[in-house]
């Protein structure tokens, strides 16, 4: 693969005209983080690889519909997470285990060298189940139905957990 210095928007425009090389460059830039991010939501590497393949095939076919907003990563993520959800709908499987440490340990904070504000700490205090719902609906931008498929729980449960998480966060930040 030759390396191109074009911006992501230019690459997508080139893909829309049928430029394979441009797709290869997009893949080189965006497939690695997409794989890692999807692996946090689905523990099966085989499924994640299929989803990444589907995603870039969809990018190839749908490049003409992309509006140049400079947000190519968010666009690709939106395709990827929805492909994952439709795969999970066809054949449900255990999702990536939610991490149990409810609190971010002080040790971690020092090691990683990141400081979280009030919101980070409040998010850290949520139970893993509630945090998974917040992550799916707020951070990944999924609908209730999509989040339910991703997390393997009923839609009603997503709604009640989201409401509880909102309440807990509001109290923590008050």
């Amino acid at each position: 693969m030759t390396i191109r210095a074009d911006g992501d928007d230019e690459l997508i425009a080139a893909v829309a005209t049928g430029d394979r090389e441009a797709l290869a460059e997009l893949y080189r830039r965006h497939a690695p983080w997409l794989v890692l991010r999807l692996l946090r939501r689905c523990a099966d590497p085989g499924t994640v690889e299929e989803v990444v393949q589907d995603t870039f095939v969809a990018v190839w076919k749908g490049a003409g519909r992309y509006r140049a907003t400079g947000e190519v990563p968010a666009w690709i993520w939106g395709i990827g997470i929805r492909r994952l959800i439709s795969r999970l709908r066809q054949r449900p499987m255990p999702i990536a285990a939610a991490q149990d440490e409810a609190m971010v340990s002080a040790e971690d904070e020092v090691l990683i060298g990141v400081e979280h504000g009030d919101l980070g700490a409040a998010l850290g205090r949520l139970s893993p189940e509630l945090r998974a719902v917040v992550q799916a609906t707020v951070l990944d931008g999924l609908t209730t139905k999509e989040a339910a498929t991703l997390l393997g729980i009923p839609q009603g449960t997503v709604k009640t957990r989201a409401a509880r998480a909102r309440r807990e966060l509001r109290e923590a930040l008050a």
Binding site: R20, L23, A24, Y27, R28, R29, H30, A31, P32, W33, V35, L36, R37, L39, R40, P45, E49, V52, Q53, F56, V57, W60, E71, P73, A74, W77, A96, A98, Q99, E101, V104, D108, L111, I112, G113, V114, H116, G120, L123, G124, P128, R131, A132, Q135, L139
Partner: protein, 279 residues
């Protein structure tokens, strides 16, 4: 986060190793969408052999031929991929065949419409009903065998039982044929039970063809059944004062008997299709 902030190498290491807790991971993910620098730092930590294998898969998918109209339609209504490909390769499910059948039945129905009220009314209605009953038989015959089916050799070698393939295709052909004849029947001058009398004969003749095809080539079976039906129906209509004699209650019962007999034969002899369509 400002563009000048970048995730620490340890954070990226732990994220790539799936060893970062949810809160840190979420903020890193939000940052990654905005920061090309951190994305490329993270890329260096990804498994490149797997990524190359996936890229090969993408190129294969892009190079794959685009499925035809019929196959895409089948996929759209939820038919599984390999079944859709097999059905789409069926000669009598191609657009040209479907169009030919639609034109034949449509013409017959319009002719019956034109002849309404004249002394040819009964005869032209008879012609339509007879064609509607025999159409799926022709479709089934054209669905199999060397020289007719482009996937014949593939079908013989496919890891799918020949009888299963045959029944899947026959069912699809029958359904397509019933839909076409049903639509054409709307154009008939009469709108009573007469427009549906071809249904049971169509089923009976198709099943009889499939049953007979356990002994002889499908083409031969279809010719025997189809020709036999045309001659008998014509003879009945000439011998009787009513041109539709071949569709009366008595013959409908006979066709139900034919259906039952054919089902019994198929249940006992369906293994005869295996590897020898036709002998």
């Amino acid at each position: 986060m400002s563009a000048t902030w970048h995730a620490a190498p340890e954070v990226l290491d732990r994220y790539a190793a799936e060893d970062l807790n949810d809160v840190h991971a979420s903020s890193l993910e939000a940052h990654l969408l905005r920061c090309a620098h951190c994305r490329s730092s993270l890329s260096a930590r990804a498994q490149s052999p797997r990524l190359e294998a996936v890229w090969t898969g993408i190129e294969d998918a892009l190079d794959a031929p685009r499925p035809g109209v019929v196959e895409r339609l089948l996929l759209r209504v939820g038919v599984r991929g390999h079944v859709a490909r097999l059905l789409a390769a069926t000669p009598s499910l191609r657009l040209s065949w479907i169009l030919a059948e639609a034109i034949a039945l449509g013409t017959a129905a319009i002719a019956a419409q034109g002849a309404a009220g004249t002394n040819r009314a009964g005869a032209s209605l008879f012609l339509f009903l007879m064609l509607a009953a025999v159409a799926p038989v022709a479709g089934v015959a054209a669905a199999f065998g060397p020289g007719v089916d482009p996937t014949y050799e593939i079908g013989i070698a496919a890891p799918m039982r020949s009888d299963r393939l045959l029944f899947i295709r026959a069912t699809a052909v029958l359904c397509a044929s019933l839909v076409i004849a049903g639509v054409a029947a709307v154009a008939l001058p009469r709108s009573d039970w007469t427009v549906t009398v071809w249904l049971v004969p169509a089923f009976g003749l198709t099943l009889a063809t499939l049953a007979l095809a356990t002994w002889v080539r499908p083409i031969a079976a279809a010719v025997v059944v189809g020709l036999g039906w045309v001659l008998l129906a014509a003879a009945a209509s000439i011998a009787s004062t009513d041109p539709l004699a071949a569709f009366h209650a008595g013959s409908q019962l006979l066709f139900l008997g034919l259906i039952a007999g054919s089902v019994v034969v198929l249940a006992r002899r369906h293994a005869a299709y295996e590897g020898r369509i036709p002998t």
